[in-house]
C-alpha cells in the first residue's frame, strides 16, 4: 500500500512538471519557437518540435493522470526526460551561450542547474518505474493465488 502511494505521489509530481512545462511552452509559442530555431541541432525541425514537444508533455501528463495508464506514462516520461537531458548536455558542450528553451520558471535556470533538476526527476521516475513493476508483479502473484514474497 505504501509502495503504491509512493508511485502515485511521484506520478503526481511528474504530472505537475509535464503539464506545467507543456502549457507554458504553448502559452509562449513564439518565444519557444524562436529559441528552438536558434539552436543549430534543432533548427531544421523547429516548427514541428515547437508543437510536438509541448503536446507530448501534455499527453504524458494525461497518461499519468489515469491509474490504468500510469505505468505507460511513467515509462514514456522517463524516455522524454532522458532525451531532454541528453539535449541539455549537447547544448552545454556545443552551444553554452544559447538560452534554454524550457517552459515557465524553468527558463530562469542555467544549463547546469537544469541538468541537476532533470537528474532529480529521472531518479524519481526510475523509482516509480521500478516500483510499479514490482507492484504489478505482486498483483499478478496475488491473482494467481501465490503467497507474497
Amino acid at each position: 500500500m505504501k509502495k503504491a502511494l509512493l508511485i502515485d505521489a511521484i506520478s503526481a509530481l511528474l504530472l505537475i512538471l509535464f503539464l506545467y512545462t507543456g502549457i507554458s511552452k504553448l502559452m509562449d509559442y513564439d518565444k519557444f519557437h524562436a529559441v528552438l530555431s536558434s539552436s543549430r541541432l534543432l533548427s531544421p525541425a523547429s516548427s514541428i518540435l515547437a508543437w510536438l514537444l509541448p503536446l507530448a508533455e501534455i499527453i504524458i501528463a494525461l497518461l499519468l493522470f489515469f491509474p490504468h495508464t500510469r505505468s505507460t506514462g511513467l515509462r514514456i516520461s522517463l524516455f522524454l526526460l532522458l532525451a531532454l537531458t541528453g539535449y541539455l548536455i549537447f547544448m552545454i558542450v556545443y552551444s553554452p551561450k544559447l538560452p534554454c528553451s524550457c517552459g515557465g520558471v524553468l527558463n530562469k535556470m542555467g544549463w547546469k542547474q537544469h541538468i541537476l533538476f532533470n537528474l532529480f526527476f529521472i531518479a524519481l521516475n526510475l523509482i516509480a518505474v521500478g516500483g510499479s513493476r514490482i507492484y504489478e508483479l505482486l498483483n499478478f502473484l496475488r491473482r494467481q493465488g501465490m503467497p507474497k514474497t
Binding site: 503526481a12 504530472l15 543549430r40 533548427s43 544559447l98
Partner: protein, 122 residues
C-alpha cells in the same frame, strides 16, 4: 475516486502555477539587415555584430524568407540587445553564428531569448 485524489491535486497545483505565469509584455522587436552592398558575405563578417556589417532597419518588421536560403539577411532582437532603444544603431551582446556555403555565408544561430534570424537566396 480515492485513486484520483493525487491526480486531481496535481492538476489543481498546475492550474495555480500556470495562473501565476506573468503575462507576455508587448515589446518592440528591432530588425537589422546584413549590409551586402558594402560588405562581402564571409563567415567572419556575418558573425560580427558591428554596424559596419549589420545595419538597423526598423521596429516590428518581418524576417526574410527564401526557399533555398544561402546568405545572411535579417536578424530580429529585443530591446535588450540594441545599443539604444530610442535610436538604435547597433546590435549589443548578441552572438551570431554563421556558416560559409560557397561564396556566401548564412546565419545558423543567434543567442538571446526572443531573437531570431533569417537568410535569403543567393
Amino acid at each position: 475516486m480515492k485513486k484520483y485524489f493525487l491526480s486531481f491535486t496535481a492538476v489543481m497545483v498546475t492550474v495555480l502555477l500556470v495562473a501565476f505565469i506573468p503575462p507576455k509584455p508587448q515589446e518592440d522587436m528591432f530588425y537589422f539587415y546584413f549590409d551586402g552592398t558594402n560588405q562581402t558575405y564571409t563567415e567572419e563578417h556575418v558573425e560580427n555584430e558591428s554596424n559596419t556589417y549589420w545595419k538597423y532597419l526598423g521596429k516590428n518588421l518581418a524576417l526574410c524568407s527564401g526557399e533555398d536560403p544561402e546568405k545572411a539577411c535579417r536578424v530580429r532582437v529585443t530591446g535588450a540587445n540594441v545599443d539604444n532603444t530610442t535610436t538604435p544603431t547597433e546590435l549589443r551582446n548578441v552572438v551570431i553564428s554563421a556558416e560559409q556555403s560557397g561564396p556566401t555565408a548564412h546565419v545558423t544561430g543567434i543567442t538571446e531569448i526572443g531573437s531570431a534570424y533569417s537568410n535569403e537566396e543567393d
